[in-house]
């Protein structure tokens, strides 16, 4: 399977990555090769195989529901580009 330049542009946008004109071709070829590998894997009959969601069979560890209120907001806001009245400020988003 081969990707178009448009596919690459769309993926870059979804991932919020800025790429140059030259890079589009570079990624188009590289990603197309990855899809080639996937095509190859798709040739294997997996109808009787359970899907593998994780490479190891470990189970999720659960934690007790005990809150820890020790949160140093001011310290965390010091490394934010901008904060005011306890809020993190970001460029305006309009729905």
């Amino acid at each position: 399977m081969s990707l178009s330049r448009k596919d690459v542009e769309k993926m870059a946008h979804l991932a919020r990555l800025q790429i140059t004109e030259q890079e589009i071709e570079y990624y188009r070829e590289g990603l197309s090769r990855i899809l080639g590998v996937i095509d190859q894997m798709n040739e294997v009959d997996t109808r009787t195989t359970a899907p593998l969601f994780h490479p190891n069979e470990e189970a999720l560890r659960l934690r007790e529901d005990r809150p820890d209120g020790a949160i140093d907001r001011d310290r965390m806001q010091q490394i934010a580009p901008q904060a005011q009245d306890g809020l993190y400020l970001v460029p305006k988003v309009i729905e």
Binding site: K10, H13, L14, R16, P51, F53, H54, N56, E58, A59, L60, R61, L62, R63, E64, D65, R66, P67, D68, G69, I71, R73, M76, Q77, Q82, Q84, D85, G86, L87, Y88, L89, V90, P91, K92, V93, I94, E95
Partner: protein, 477 residues
Amino acid sequence: MDWETVVGLEVHVQLLTASKAFSDAPARYGAAPNTQANVVDLAMPGVLPVMNREAVRMAAMFGAAIGARVNPRSVFARKNYFYPDLPKGYQISQYELPVVEHGTLTIDGDGAERSIRILRAHLEEDAGKSLHEDFHGMTGIDLNRAGIPLLEIVSQPDLRSPKEAVAYLKKLHTLVRYLRICDGNMQEGSFRCDANVSVRPRGQDTLGTRTEVKNINSFRFVERAIEYEVARQIDLIEGGGKVVQETRLYDSVKDETRPMRSKEEANDYRYFPDPDLPPLVLTQEFIDEAARALPELPDQKRQRFMRDYGLTAYDAGVLTASEETAAYFERVCEYAGAEPKLAANWVTGALGAYLNRDGLEIESSRISAEALAGLLRRIGDQTISGKIAKEVFEAMWASGKDADSVIDLRGLRQITDSGPIVAAIDAVFAAHPKQLEQYRTGQEKLFGFFVGQVMKATQGKANPAEVNRLLKERLSS
């Protein structure tokens, strides 16, 4: 053409845990901005999510309560999108293997009970809040809500009218509150609803194109938003157009839905299993324990109220809509030894109206169950009539006094002795000789007039049955 409405609801229920789904930051509502957002909620580099056992237990309880399958193995996935109130750039959710699948919820449809299928309920985390007020042209972000555990409950498109959608939502609301897994506060956003709405010609099997209506944050708005959307779709199709699959926002002020400004790739979430979280594996013991922890459920309580108290399905439904109301009613019955029907009438009637008027929940009622029982006892032993009881109730509500104090203070004790009643009757006869004459010459409908006059003369305190009996006696003598 005759159109059929088809609705499925997606309900987001905030789980009542003390800490968040994947971090140990507190999950209380209303704290100062960002004081409950720790490094995990802020998506600092290198942090890892650790799942809250209590959130899982609550999901399993919900599954048991709707007769669903609680999956021994489920998987967390990343739902990817960029928005400032989602610092990681993805929401941890469940996609292919949710924790709960295939349950049912029974609702009161038009005249008959209807079983609504629930496709799935999955665990996920809430996002933060964006505040669009002016911060010098910037948007303020509060991440206290980010990471609070949510159970998203998805119904099949089994609902056939706006009313059924409301009935389903109310039933779900009642259930999660009984289970104590959610406080159900719609204003604060702990119980939120989106509706998938479509129409089709009646009799057609395939579904029409649906729209998703968001932002419906009260039971009333759910009904109105769906009504509007159904009418819009029918107009569109009958006018030769086509329904476009899209997300629409409900505007309760204008009472309309309108398309959300399309974020181009709104539905391109690129789900994939979260590599930070291995599969959630639940032992049979864990699942059984959650099922054993279920309280008496709304339907069971309702059946018991009908059976043990002889109430109608309607009364039992109203009284069991919240556990608190049901408990109040049972306490009144216990203390009053009263006729349950009478207790039900007072709880659903006067008490409900006063609570409503003052915007109070039954837990903060100005008349306790014990005090209302005291009032019902005085009706039962004929100290006061039902009519006077309303006045006593009002005074109790206003003053916080018990029934006996109000009755004594205001001299409202019912007159059952024949002496004073006969005296009042004679006085009324003396004052209205003309009516007495007319009655005696055959105008028997004046009987009611005399009853009214005697009641008035006794300030409503005379026992009505006694008045009737004695009046008949005097008039026929």
